[in-house]
Subunit: 497 residues, 2 copies
């Protein structure tokens, strides 16, 4: 088996056994087995499914086996939820059974000093060629195959008896998440669900006793359902290997990294969290730059950039045009663009003339400013937004467009979103949007933009940062001479003729 096939077993096994499956609702072994059983019943999980627990005959209607060895058929993947001290024995049985891959959810290994136990497990697995994820991890979630090892409850019951959504699974989509921190992974799923961003694969490494980032990246490169990779990192063991894999991937798919432990306090925290040596931050920064990994400055940017790259093509250059109906937010966007190394330069005379023509035709207000940003003023209508964006879409000097359509103004109707989306859909020029506000209509406008594949943000600066990632990635692809190929694939994926 090559690495791709090995990794595929974690996400797409033909048969899976849950070692430590349970009927007790509060046990991880119950939650995990139930995830699989539910997905099997719904027809999402195609794999054969077996619970293993010597104390039970049936779990959720599935015949239960007292050990792995008793299961009649072949087993591709095992998910281990038994206490740490029993794991070596389970692994030995896995060797006998010809298991290909194991996910060790159980904690109690090197993270609390039990290095010898972890070493034993690795030794058994290595000899037999079994690939191991974990231990001490959340494991895998695949929205397409129905593999779901998350033992965090999807809902929680409050003391009032109310049930609440707690750790939801996002819908199927094109983002994959690779995370060293399980708890952060769970919150990422929560965040992406709420923002209606779909994911393909989720994998949490925990102690990383065997499989780590590099192999996972190579696998996701081949995964058709993955178009953008989000990578949460505290420390990388084999930097050379990581860079080699990352370099291959970033030519085809954007990789966004959130690397924490960048300060001395953060590094100390990382060391006691996953035992990671955070290393000098400069080294990581330089490595990411070299291999085209886009680094996010913080958590929110991490998700914001993911959304931008999942929806929009990279930019060919760094000249940005801004269209707004609100002066202040226009300034904020222009400021943040320049801070991030983008240019918001005065439009060409030709473009300015086009705007002046619109004014004399009464198609945009006389008081609109048109040097860049274009400020349509408080009189803005949907038609005016359409006219203004059209000019910038066609302007060969403009590489990316930021639309700030604040819905508060009286004459602006919600169809400005549709008009803009219709206008830009066949152009290979990136566009991002912003509406400010946290009540009904702001959310409606942002989600309408999102649905058309125009990523929308809640602040002008967030929109500018998203655009800056599209520019950074475009620059990298051009440097690598693979911009055209990326664009061809991108436009094909988005269904543009």
């Amino acid at each position: 088996m090559n690495i791709i096939e090995q990794m595929d077993t974690f996400f797409n096994p033909k048969s899976v056994a849950v070692i430590g499956a349970s009927r007790k609702i509060h046990k991880a072994g119950h939650v995990i087995f139930k995830n699989f059983a539910d997905n099997k019943r719904r027809g999402i999980l195609k794999a054969e499914l077996y619970p293993v627990n010597p104390k039970e005959d049936y779990i959720l209607g599935f015949k239960c086996y007292s050990s792995l060895l008793e299961i009649p058929g072949k087993i591709d993947l095992i998910v281990i939820v038994v206490p740490a001290e029993f794991v070596p024995e389970v692994m030995s049985q896995a060797v006998q059974k010809g298991v290909k891959a194991a996910v060790i959810i159980s904690a109690g290994f090197s993270e609390i000093g039990n290095r010898e136990l972890e070493r034993q497990v690795v030794e058994i697995a290595k000899k037999a060629g079994i690939r191991v994820l974990g231990p001490n991890c959340l494991g895998v979630y695949d929205s397409y195959t129905g593999v779901d090892m998350l033992f965090l409850p999807e809902t929680k019951i409050l003391s009032t008896g109310d049930e609440m959504v707690a750790t939801p699974r996002p819908m199927a989509g094109n983002i994959s998440i690779v995370t060293q921190s399980g708890a952060f992974g769970a919150s990422a799923l929560d965040y992406l669900t709420g923002r209606q961003l779909g994911i393909s694969k989720f994998v949490s490494f925990g102690n990383k006793c065997d499989v780590e980032e590099a192999e996972m990246l190579e696998y996701l490169l081949e995964d058709e359902k993955t178009e953008v990779i989000l990578l949460y990192i505290e420390g990388i063991r084999d930097g050379r290997k990581f860079m080699e894999s990352a370099r291959k991937v970033t030519r085809i798919k954007p990789v966004i990294a959130l690397k924490t432990g960048k300060t001395s306090a953060g590094a100390r925290a990382a060391a006691s969290h996953t035992g990671s040596i955070a290393g000098t931050d400069d080294v990581y920064e330089a490595a990411f730059m070299q291999c085209g990994v886009i680094r996010a400055k913080d958590m929110e940017e991490f998700f914001d950039l993911g959304k931008a790259l999942a929806y929009q093509p990279p930019a060919k250059g760094n000249n940005i045009g801004i269209v707004t109906d609100a002066g202040g937010p226009g300034i904020m966007a222009a400021d943040e663009c320049e801070v991030r190394g983008l240019r918001v330069k005065r439009f060409s005379d030709d473009t300015i003339r086009k705007f002046e023509d619109l004014k004399s035709q009464g198609k945009i207000p006389k008081i609109a400013t048109n040097l860049n940003p274009v400020d349509l003023s408080g009189l803005a209508t949907s038609e005016m937004f359409e006219e203004a964006v059209k000019i910038l879409v066609e302007d060969p000097e403009i590489d990316g467009i930021i639309v700030l359509g604040l819905h508060h103004l009286p004459a602006l109707m919600e169809d400005f979103v549709d008009r803009i989306a219709n206008l830009v859909k066949d152009y290979p020029k990136p566009i991002v949007a912003c509406d400010i506000g946290e009540t009904e209509m702001a959310m409606f406008i942002r989600s309408r933009f999102d649905k058309f594949g125009i990523p929308a943000y809640g602040s002008p600066e967030d929109a500018a940062r998203a655009m800056s990632a599209l520019v950074r990635y475009g620059k990298y692809l051009i440097k690598c001479k693979c911009y055209d190929e990326y664009m061809e694939n991108f436009m094909k994926r988005k269904g543009v003729k």
Copy 2:
């Protein structure tokens, strides 16, 4: 009349006339008069209210006057919504009538080059001592007195016939907003409403032909209902005057500024927006520092810091303790603290011993880390959070506490919020919280913290930034030797004995 009395007329007039009130629902003169009329009917607005429009007999049940001069009683405040060219005549009548203050909502003055018209208006007003807000502005909103000049519709009707909340008014609270940009002001109201942050006063200046920031600051200093001031600035005309006022205010109430136009593109945009000379950003930066104004780096931080300072006391020093149930987010918070100049140092031996004691008593997990951050691990319960926070509340070395309580973990119940709130309520030590996620339970946990006056944020970095503002402000107050006085007032306001 002193300046305070003059400014008070804008927010708390005894009588108000709307010049250009209308029955036509799409006109600004209708929306504004209706705001006043509604608030009058609800008993919120105590002022006498008069519509002025020569073409109508009654508007919304109020007798309409053909001119200001015909109104029988005295008039404190006029709100002018007639076209620009009629404004000088209205102002002349205002002089005759003895009006104290005028808000000119109407556009069409210096912002489109009509400087002479604006000069005329100012001249008339100055001679008679009438104070003027605007022109070209949104005017004033006061959640306590019912003065509401916002002509942006609270709801909008979509093409489907659906009605949606568009520009809501926040509930009554202790934050006041002073903004040069009207559209940004409207979106700020939308944002604060959605985040359930209450406001006292809102004022949008527009062209600032007369009243500007300095006087407004002096007024808000005296306003009992204002505890925190949010200031959106594109350019300040009289820097010396601003600094003089700001210095007086910041000793008593925090002022948070969002100053845009900091890059050359931003400055160009600002110049064509409100005609502001943005000036060198370094000059503003230094001025803010000197007079204790806390500058926010972007829009989101602007609101986040406002919330922190509205809810929590400033910190006495920069040593921060972090308690988390999720390693990764703990590292993010530690990183951001250090980036912002805070310290997340190893706890004292004494404090570490207290945590070890808890471990040996089985009160927190053996695998918890306790150097700072405290990571209670995935086994965290509400009781453990309470125990850990208690130690830090009592630790004299720790000046502020960040609680990262990710709700995803199975054993953590929602009552950890109540326990922490109960624990910290009488301590003059700031605390901020974070839960990550954008679905039901994350929002519930954050809003529960908020309700207890512990500001909660959606990312660890946002929480750290909020704490950094509490530290910066504390440092400034200590430097000015007014920390103790501030704290005394603060604790009194919050009802702490």
